[in-house]
Symmetry: C2
Subunit: 196 residues, 2 copies
């Protein structure tokens, strides 16, 4: 077999990570084998190790790429001078877009993170917990300002984030409405559920 083909300015490692994300999404991390991944990449299994240290490195690259993007957008949103409901809408749209346009990675990060091993595991869990607290704080603020119903903020966050991970079903389904309609529908229901 020939070399791994790299489009434009991607490294070979990037190519492997990207194909790994697809494979992990389809089969699950544990069920996906390095030999299978190698096949997809177009190379022998052993050759992968010229570019990566281990299977688990693939997983934590994927998970932290995603987690860091979310941390970053949260920084931005917190800094903006808009209402709580607008902040939430902005976050939700970012999540929905991620799930629609970077499906493989986001999905893997969401469902397979438990196979990370320490110290990555604890690290990831911390980042996740922190993110949710910041999200909940925005909701709490909205309740104080009477923009939002009196509900438990933690529960609200849980509903929002998991509802969005349901976009997985949308990807699976045969006759899907288009991505933009999906986004508008989700915003209508979710933000509508919070509004006073």
């Amino acid at each position: 077999m020939g070399r791994i083909k790299t489009d434009s300015n991607l490294t070979r490692k990037d190519v492997i990570i990207s194909k790994a994300a697809t494979l992990f999404r389809e089969k699950g991390y544990k069920a996906a084998s390095m030999r299978e991944l190698a096949d997809i990449v177009g190379v022998e299994a052993a050759s992968l190790y010229n570019h990566i240290k281990s299977k688990s490195e693939l997983l934590h690259e994927i998970c932290f790429n995603v987690a860091n993007r979310f941390s970053h957008i949260m920084d931005e949103v917190e800094a903006e001078k808009i209402s709580s409901l607008e902040k939430i809408e902005k976050l939700l749209r970012f999540h929905i877009n991620g799930m629609v346009h970077h499906f493989e990675e986001v999905y893997v990060s969401d469902r397979e993170w438990k196979y990370l091993s320490d110290p990555y595991l604890s690290n990831f869990q911390n980042q996740r917990r922190t993110y949710r607290k910041r999200f909940a704080a925005i909701i709490e603020d909205g309740i104080r300002k009477k923009e939002i119903k009196k509900i438990d903020p933690t529960t609200a966050v849980l509903i929002m984030l998991h509802a969005i991970s349901g976009i997985e079903s949308w990807h699976r389904s045969k006759q899907k409405i288009n991505g933009d309609e999906l986004e508008e529908n989700m915003i209508t229901i979710l933000v509508g559920g919070l509004k006073k």
Copy 2:
């Protein structure tokens, strides 16, 4: 080691299935090993095979137990003479209760079904698809009767069901509100998001 202890009128197989559900929930189906399960049950791995045919039998017992319960409640709800919104609320409460009180099995059925093998896999997918269509039909009916906002029913179902599977996070979290409060909060947000 001694025999498998069976409380009341459970068979030894039931005990194994129940402990398998817990293990599969914690580790995931693929990552859970029969030797580990045997340890938990208090027996050697080989001894499990006196009661079950295979590891995969455990998974499909769990998945279909749950799926059948949901089919059954849907039959009941469809037959009742109440408004669409009330039907939806009833279904949601059943789902929430399942997730709170039969967490292990419901969670495994929700997240690990993809490791079923045919014919169970296709079967399960069919049951799932059918269930969601029936759910969507109720929402569609509600829209026609102007009880519910004009939204895409399929998207609404997807949001509801996945939001509920987020109760997983509630189980994980240290300082949780109690189950009844959780239920009320979820109903408020979800049903509130649909109502016109």
